[in-house]
Symmetry: C2
Subunit: 219 residues, 2 copies
């Protein structure tokens, strides 16, 4: 099946919205994710339903079919492997690679992404800690532990970022927090749910907005 970049982007959007939101994704939600108008989304999902890539009943939102899901995961796989390439091989910072990966994920080739994966020595996670689906589409999701849920006095390792937006990544850079950073929760402030955290090098105050966006593994 030969899909346009646009169709691929819709599938990818529906895929990730299915995780962050309900199982049946609404038209408006997609339109916000993809920065189009809701009416355009309706057109497209009808087209995708024609191609059996989504389940769609009028006014009921959409969900991916088996094949639609398979394609979406393939695109996610491509996106994340290209991000690894850009960071590990071309020395980009983790906040610089998303836009390029958005383009590279649409390169069509039967073999390219598997060759790239081998060249990168089969990475398991992208530069933002997101898991990379394997060739068959299997993907191991994070165990949803956020920094905000770590008890006072306990330590943890940063293993992923929930919101990988540029400003947030740059902010983490400034705080010298990266994947693998070890954080110890010193105290929590009930007033605004901020916490005092000890890194390898410093003691910093972290707002709830931030601690809710950091995936960690408790130690």
């Amino acid at each position: 099946m030969m899909l346009s970049q646009t169709e691929e982007n819709y599938l990818k959007a529906i895929y990730s919205l299915t995780y962050t939101n309900s199982n049946n994704v609404s038209t408006t939600l997609i339109s916000e994710a993809i920065k189009t108008k809701a009416s355009s989304v309706t057109d497209m999902i009808q087209k995708l339903a024609e191609k059996d890539l989504v389940h769609y009943k009028k006014y009921q939102g959409v969900s991916l079919t088996k094949i639609g899901q398979k394609i979406a995961v393939e695109i996610v796989r491509k996106h994340r492997l290209w991000e690894v390439f850009l960071v590990n091989k071309l020395n980009y910072n983790w906040d610089e690679v998303h836009q390029m990966a958005e383009q590279l994920e649409h390169i069509k080739s039967e073999t390219l992404i598997d060759k790239l994966e081998a060249f990168l020595e089969f990475p398991t996670h992208d530069p933002h800690g997101d898991p990379i689906p394997d060739k068959e589409g299997n993907i191991k999701h994070h165990n949803n532990t956020m920094l905000s849920s770590v008890e006072t006095g306990k330590s943890c390792v940063v293993i992923g970022i929930k919101d990988s937006s540029d400003p947030f990544l740059k902010f983490l850079d400034k705080l010298q927090i990266q994947l693998g950073s070890i954080l110890k929760v010193i105290s929590k402030e009930p007033f605004d749910n901020s916490m005092l955290v000890e890194t390898e090098t410093a003691s910093i105050s972290i707002s709830n907005q931030i601690s809710k966006n950091l995936f960690v593994k408790k130690l």
Copy 2:
């Protein structure tokens, strides 16, 4: 200036046709190169003329403007650097990379191609022996010596392929001829302009069609 992939492809086609053909490229020639109808080409070159990327007078064919040429060379640069990546890093054969490079050459980024160039350690030629333009757009063309013009008894090195089509590249593979191969002309057949050539490993007969397509440097 933000160009579509299609516009970029037209500029690239005009660029290479300017070399292989006359200075003013005809509509039909472009339409054959780009596999569209002549009427579509007319539409597009009028659009490109609007944007000052080509010089165009009705019925007189087109040529690239300074800025149009600059963009065309940038795309050639990207194409060839990606081909080097695919062959040198991902272990593709030289006959497998063109279609992927056709897509990769359109990836938009201010920095990507320069980073890639550095990662590849500043290659001067692509896998088919074609020169890679530098960051400023300077490009050293082959000194047009073809194998067909080498005198009997003389030796030469293969430095490039004129027609880099898949079948031709595969054929060269079979003959065990590659860039850097040293060929000695044993004899020439006046009847069909074929020649008997000695490689490092064997003695082979080479048709004129082939010897006219191999760039060499005389030794």
